[in-house]
Amino acid sequence: MSFLREVDPAWCPGCGNFPLRMNLASTLEEMGVDKSRFVMVTGIGQAAKMPHYLDVNFFNGLHGRSIPVAFAIKAVNPELTVIVESGDGDMYGEGGNHFIHGIRRNFDVTVLIHDNQIYGLTKGQGSPTTRKGQKTSVQLQGVINEPLNPLALAITMDASFVGRTFIGDKEHFNKVVSAAINHKGFSVVDIMQPCVTFNKVNTFKYYKEKLYDVSEADSSYDPTDKANAFKRALEWDDKIPMGIIYVNDKPTYHELHSVLKKGVVLAKEKTAIDISAELKAFR
């Protein structure tokens, strides 16, 4: 079952979203994801155009608001596999509050962030992950804000799965993203994706040189050690950690929720409620 739609994506030639798309489609295919029970939820941005170039159910909503939509879809229909596809501006900027509170809910979702460290679609403004000093179309003198560290933030909020991968390493992408999807709970994957048009700093080469997999580098790496994972997540300038950074297998929203833990699929319930009994209390 191919997840690709035959279409010409509106991305710039050379954009990191092209390999990302191919990697994602093949990951989904290899995992044997059931297309009819798969929903992709997105905000707005270059990343968020993804579902238009795949053959999937999708809800392409507002800039920054994918998480609450995804939450409710999953809440009312736990049978669906829900994936959020977002950009660094979309998720960590406009969507920041939903990101942190979505994690707190630990519902079963996989959140893929195309992190190109720039606002692509709106022409090159600094994003929350743009590094200090980088000059952009609005930060003409260079960014002066402290960059947001997505992995550290996700770990702090205790996301139950936190990973990072790179569009340029198909195998690694497949490994991390499929683990994220298989993981039960809120999974965050920060995906390094070069923007060839607006980000001349964080290029393919840049990532290629700096990224390393934490468990390849250190076979004893323990992703369940939160403080240690946090420390790893702080690395950037010399070497950038990727792979499965943090895992905390804890009960999901559905497992803890007093109504949902009974296994009810609200989206399939048809029972009308007999309101007359309820009304009696008001006599």
């Binding site: 999708f58 909503g61 608001r65 009312v76 319930e269 009308a272 309101i275």
Partner: protein, 556 residues
């Protein structure tokens, strides 16, 4: 029409709400008709808390502001009510407490005092002073003692000692024999219900099959969330407290997209944060049902007071152009029925439907006939779809077949302009077609409207109203033949054909706002010239207020 108004006056935290509810419910269960309201401050303890109960023999839907009897638990809050005293108002207070004197008020009052606290102590429960007062008032109305006794047993269920002493306190209160004249009410067996606006809306939502609610707390909209929470386990409803209102509305859109009737509740300031979400629902043609319980604004305004200030804001909510449906119930019964209808219309036309409440409606209990549950309103209009399914197929009515994900069809929706399949497009011909498709729904929608309530349209002066001002307007107009009214519960869209009936008449809109928003709306849809009077101090309009204001303005 006979009526009698009782006020309980004290501070937040003194248990006035519990005792007021018990008083109202006991009177109601004994066959009286009841209308209550509350006047309180935005604080948890202290401040002013006035619980008013209007007793009558036929149902009334507004408060008379002047009370006949006031039970005072706090000197200062009672002094703040002096403007609502009339010549024969009786003031009751606990003789053991600091109390209101003629010197304080500057006029003679009919004062009674009883040692409530002492009596309660004698009954074995010093905290039961309110129950003593309850007993005394109920005796006055000759309410059967089983009725409050049963309530006491329910409220304190499990705590036998407390029940015993409270029942004792109740009985001692019954025996106090206040010498107060009350009207000679007729109380008959009836089929009425005592419901407030919050309960009416909540019950309507449950009856409509709502199984997902998301909200961020905001007075006075929080009540509906609390109501559904209280029924969540019983009916299998998921209620999610969101991190903010933007999350709340997007969650509800997600739940609805996935196939479940979903509701978001808020008040004006929270509604302001949901504007982009409304526009999203419109563009994705996802049914969206919202409750906006109005309070005085701008900004934080007066959190615990009432207003009808959000009308034009709500009617014009969301950037861009699309059909929406806005209702403003008159009564708790209406709230039930219009909430059901809102879910139905939202599903049938795949549009936002907004239920405009007010603080006074949500906080007031009224005696109503049984709300009518409409089976037809359970219809979901969801299709299964198949291989060639197109979510935004162009149709005659503008309504496309709606499937939900997880079934046979792949469902694709987009907040950008899109083609019939749901894919993003920048093709301007498709854009044009899609605008027309969405706007076509207006025609069907207007066909769903019920005519506004009309009364005595031959009169020289026609009052215009909407929402919960109806009780006051109806009370004012009833029995006068120089005044008629037209009153709306479905406030958007408006059927312009009303023009024919109203043209040439003097129209004066009565509203809970300064600018006359409904007057302006009606004018924009019909060209009719509509004057207005408005109340904007945070209190609901009443028949008396209408009378006084029309006189002041030289209208009558």
């Amino acid at each position: 029409m006979r009526d009698y108004v009782i006020a309980l006056s004290g501070e937040a935290g003194q248990g006035l709400n519990t005792i007021g509810d018990m008083l109202a419910l006991s009177l109601f269960r004994n066959g009286f008709c009841i209308f209550t309201d509350k006047s309180y401050h935005s604080r948890i303890r202290g401040g002013e808390y006035i619980y008013r109960i209007r007793v009558s023999d036929t149902p009334l839907f507004s408060m008379r502001q002047e009370f006949d009897l006031i039970v005072s638990l706090s000197k200062s809050t009672t002094l703040s009510q002096l403007e609502y005293f009339h010549d024969k108002t009786t003031l009751i207070f606990d003789s053991d407490s600091d109390h209101v004197t003629t010197e304080d008020t500057g006029f003679e009052m009919n004062v009674m005092n009883f040692p409530f606290k002492t009596i309660a102590k004698e009954a074995g429960e010093p905290r039961a002073q309110n129950v003593v007062a309850l007993g005394a008032i109920l005796a006055l109305f000759k309410v059967k003692m089983e009725i409050p006794s049963q309530l006491i047993e329910e409220v304190f269920s499990g705590k036998d000692e407390v029940i015993k002493s409270n029942l004792e306190a109740l009985e001692r209160g019954y025996n106090l024999e206040l010498s107060i004249d009350i009207p000679d009410f007729e109380t008959n067996e009836n089929n009425y219900y005592l419901v407030n606006g919050t309960e009416g809306t909540g019950l309507g939502a449950i009856a409509a099959g709502c199984r997902f609610l998301s909200a961020y707390p905001m007075t006075p909209g929080t009540g509906v969330m609390n109501f559904l929470v209280s029924r969540a386990e019983r009916y299998g409803i998921v209620v999610e407290q969101a991190e903010d209102e933007i999350a709340a509305v997007n969650m509800v859109i997600g739940g609805s997209f996935a196939g479940v009737r979903s509701l978001v509740t808020t008040s004006g300031g929270g509604f302001a944060l949901m504007q982009e979400g409304i526009s999203l629902a419109a563009m994705t043609e996802t049914p969206l049902v919202m409750v906006d319980a109005q309070r005085p604004a701008p900004a934080t305004g007066l959190p615990t007071r009432t207003a009808q200030e959000d009308l034009l804001f709500v009617v014009n909510a969301g950037h861009g152009e699309f059909p929406k449906y806005v209702v403003a119930p008159r009564t708790p019964k209406d709230a039930f029925e219009l909430t059901e209808k809102a879910f139905y219309i939202a599903d049938k036309y795949q549009i936002p439907a907004i239920i405009l409440l007010t603080e006074s409606l949500v906080d007031s209990s009224a005696t109503v006939e049984a709300p009518i549950h409409n089976e037809e309103f359970l219809q979901r209009f969801v299709v299964e779809g198949g291989d060639k399914y197109r979510r935004f197929e162009s149709t005659e009515t503008g309504v496309s077949p709606r499937a939900v994900p997880g079934g046979k069809a792949l469902v694709r929706v987009d907040s950008d302009e899109h083609d019939e399949e749901g894919y993003i497009t920048e093709n301007l011909k498709i854009r044009k077609m899609m605008v027309q498709k969405r706007m076509k729904k207006m025609k069907g929608l207007v066909g769903e409207l019920t005519a506004p309530a009309k009364f005595n349209l031959d009169a020289p002066l026609i009052l215009v109203g909407w929402g919960d001002s109806w009780g006051a307007i109806d009370e004012f107009a009833t029995g006068r033949n120089d005044v008629g009214y037209v009153h709306y519960t479905e406030v958007f869209p408006i059927d312009p054909s009303i023009r024919e009936e109203l043209e040439g008449k003097r129209l004066v809109s009565v509203e809970g706002n300064f600018t006359g928003q409904f007057a302006s709306l009606l004018r924009s849809k019909t060209g009719l010239n509509v004057e207005h009077i408005g109340r904007y101090d945070g209190r609901p309009v009443s028949a008396n207020w209408i009378q006084k204001t029309l006189e002041e303005e030289g209208i009558i």
